[in-house]
Symmetry: C2
Subunit: 409 residues, 2 copies
Amino acid sequence: MNIAIMGFGVVGSGVAEVFTKNHEMIAEKSLHAPFELKYILDIRDFPDSPYADNMIKDFNLILNDETVGIVVETMGGLHPAYDFVSALLKAGKSVVTSNKELVAEKGCELLALAKENGVNFLFEASVGGGVPIIRPITQCLAANDISEVAGILNGTTNFILTKMIRENMELTDALKLAQKLGYAEKDPTADIDGIDASRKICILASLCFGKHVYPKSVHTEGIRGITLRDVAYAGNADMVIKLLGVAKKTGNQVVISVAPCLIDKHSQLASVSDVFNAILVRGDAIGDVVFYGRGAGKLPTASAVVADVIDSAKHTERRRIFGWTDSEEGYVADYASVPGRFYVRGTMTDGSGAGSVTAGMKSVKVLFAENAPADEAAFLVNAPSEKWLRKTLQTVGIADPVVMRVTDY
Amino acid sequence: MNIAIMGFGVVGSGVAEVFTKNHEMIAEKSLHAPFELKYILDIRDFPDSPYADNMIKDFNLILNDETVGIVVETMGGLHPAYDFVSALLKAGKSVVTSNKELVAEKGCELLALAKENGVNFLFEASVGGGVPIIRPITQCLAANDISEVAGILNGTTNFILTKMIRENMELTDALKLAQKLGYAEKDPTADIDGIDASRKICILASLCFGKHVYPKSVHTEGIRGITLRDVAYAGNADMVIKLLGVAKKTGNQVVISVAPCLIDKHSQLASVSDVFNAILVRGDAIGDVVFYGRGAGKLPTASAVVADVIDSAKHTERRRIFGWTDSEEGYVADYASVPGRFYVRGTMTDGSGAGSVTAGMKSVKVLFAENAPADEAAFLVNAPSEKWLRKTLQTVGIADPVVMRVTDY
């Protein structure tokens, strides 16, 4: 059997590299005559690449080649990836992708298409890079009723927060360093504003709870508003700030968000530093399980793609079975209405102390930080909802409050 | 299809419970008519159990019943578990086990037997309790050349070390507490002396490197010799002491051990506390991946067993493919000859200072602890082997040295 790669960027070239390097071992594991890499589709020219002979620019060569059984999609973006993948599945070819946008937006539809055509649509690399997560959830935790999935899903923002927490570096400086080291794009919006993480939590929620969640319905906040003083206040409460994607089942609904949160410094997620990712799954039988590793990068992601290719090759007669259905209106709960414990930092407009502004609030813990302005209040508080909390903060005269949830991870 | 459980102890009764509780969901996931629990084999009587009607004492009822396709072995111990499992595999029944002793001692043979008879022999629950690890290694990391696997594999000893590190509790007191809480047996030998962990690292090494390693060839040390002062000295070097199972490939050999080690306090393994387990896998493409969760306990372990049953049920026509071959003489390297960085604590017999005894040793870092006796030396040092180091320590007059390796996790 032959395979093809669409998109010869960082991940796609990594896939070719892992294939070449571990060719023999892979052939052994997939129990087939070694499958060969036949085509690499890219609009760019790579005359000096060792794969120059495999390079093509016409998608139809792949689509119409009966010897190609598995196609790797590492182009990224929604179009033309979606159009190509749909056509391939309809033509009876299995597809392996690392494209989180594609899975988050079209996963439900593409899984159904794969099922109809008796082929595989696999996407281990779309969440957590090389960290095994999709397959463990679908197989190893199959006996569990999963109630919650949460994680540090974006390496760039975790790198920035780690620098803020451990080295007291300002956010803007940490971002510049991340860009210098190649961890962040020139335009870091997708990372910094939580968009990348929101696609990943959509995929995880869809998989864990069986119904598709679309990125547009996820409450998404990034890390731009976080200051070194927030980090210090959190530290004063023995906590650290992490950008978490969280999805919880509550009855027939799901509460889903990407937002900076406070977590206990002894938590397994608190020690996840730099560009590493970690995903926590909470099941009724297993309790908490955490998967940890490099969430991005050429070879880690490529290794997940190749594992999917091997798995697909082993299941040519019988397809890998998992999927989810579409979700109905109202499946995603209103995030601002969910009760919880919150961190608040803001300016007291009438000059009163934090003690007086929090009078009447529940389970308040006032926080301290060195060199904090006298008119700044920071505290933890229980509230019936963020909506209620923000309204109350306005009433008691706290301007421009920063509000973050405190988690129990 | 029917299933049977052999051994109605903690794990076996948990398996029955998870089956009953999540029956519908499990049936859906395994894509079969719901399989029924037909027999539970145990020599004891359970007249008040909800499963009293399923209880049997004659193994042959299971062996000779053609409607039983999958048998769960949760008896523990080598005999009669080994005899029963062999007979079942030969009779064409798939077996799922949580019995680490069985897999560590007989895994290679039983996997071959399963292959011959076209059935499955699965053992996800034998390592890390409910933490998915066997399947991620065989499937998700399939594209990787794995060079190293290491982990905190025993919850009891990790609980004790956590109490020593975080609460300054003496080892004997922590052990008593663990016994009181049900985390340790009355006779804690298998846990405390590293025997349980050595079985698990055997299974992991066999799986990762493809050749069977037997427990008797593993260098195994427990935690009995560790004192609160060792914990303090390690802390002084920003490290913590953890009981680690470690297996590394070095050319055609494997270096394999269970021993207390010093690890950096920022390491992902350092924050694994209480009865939790964590397993780190180092692959050429993925880098380090860590799997974390409850390594023991009724429901976590049962959930792993049931996941294997579901997987086996999905693969009745095509068996799950993985295994390893037997190992040749000399496959396991001599542990005492491996170079590394070491922690040393001992008494200086001639009254000289630590500085003078370490003269001539490489990259020495002298350590300090409050209230340490004046004639005690503690330091980190590089050495060509533990053998060399112990001999040298004798020469320079350090009596009864405690020696532990410093890891790079």
